[in-house]
Symmetry: C2
Subunit: 192 residues, 2 copies
């Protein structure tokens, strides 16, 4: 089905152009026209795929969420069997701590998540957030390894810590190395 | 010096009008004209105090930082003497975990900090961030109580966790009660 593949590839190219603009000029700079120019396609083509700026933003967010999920599946699949809950959670959380020079998409994703703080954006785009699945998975694994602690609370702590580390690394307050060390210490604490 | 007091009060009223607009309509909605209308003063008066939108935003951020510092001083002063490092750090961190219905200023502060992610805003406004002092103070206290652990790393973890908790509470992903329990568990871990 080459036609369908092309459609998906085209939509993705447009979303990636949107991320490049967000990264260099900020979210306010995004327009259908600007994204078309950045993607090297016509305004009409962009409008063929996305009826509005919001529809385009929603798709761009979904791409990020899907990319993160795919990355996690890959990391998990690469673990040796049998794997412990600790190995699984460590692999996933360490994958999600941002690098020192986060790539375009990572940085843009942080921008976008922060911008969801606008109440009307939150209501519209909140459905695309990856956190609930992640929190549930992490809590389940902690429950298996540590029946003696409050697994939901520990999972909430890990997710909140991850959110905070994303923020401090992307704003340059902390290096990725420190962020990784902080996350490793937290995993030690939870699974000790 | 009633004149000076009036000036400060007027500048603060204008900044508070700015926060109300940010909260209801988002950062993009801020204009000198809109803030003047919200504050119930003339456009000319706003321009007398702030030559540009950026100058006004910077002052509004500084007010938040100063309010947070004042709140922390108050909480610390209310502690019984002699106080332990753990009591001091706990009082401060628990003060900074947001309430379930964060007040206008708290919410606006989170918006603003997130919006600093725009690279040009970060460069301009980054100087106003309260984190470095807080991190140093927390690390010093941890060093006193726990010479056996990496105090800088533990302090970085607490600050990152606080950032993340701010985000998850203000976006409604977690209740303030959960955020407080997460922070309390973290303090147990660090000072145990």
């Amino acid at each position: 089905m080459p036609k369908i593949v092309d459609h998906e590839a085209r939509r993705r190219e447009i979303a990636e152009a949107l991320w490049r603009i967000t990264r260099s000029d900020g979210w306010e700079a995004i327009t259908l026209r600007g994204v078309a120019a950045e993607a090297g396609v016509s305004m009409g083509l962009v409008q063929h795929y996305f009826r509005s700026k919001d529809e385009m933003l929603l798709f761009a967010l979904e791409i990020i969420v899907e990319d993160v999920r795919a990355e996690i599946r890959k990391v998990v699949a690469a673990l040796p069997e049998p794997r412990t809950p600790r190995q699984l959670v460590t692999a996933v959380m360490m994958e999600l701590v941002p690098r020192d020079r986060p790539n375009e998409t990572e940085t843009a994703a942080v921008f976008m998540r922060r911008l969801q703080l606008r109440p009307e954006s939150l209501a519209r785009l909140g459905a695309g957030q990856p956190q609930p699945d992640l929190r549930g998975m992490v809590a389940d694994q902690i429950r298996l390894a540590r029946p003696d602690i409050d697994a939901d609370l520990a999972a909430s702590g890990l997710i909140a810590l991850l959110e905070g580390l994303l923020f401090v690394v992307v704003t340059g307050q902390q290096s990725s190395a420190t962020a990784r060390a902080v996350m490793a210490a937290q995993l030690d604490y939870v699974f000790n």
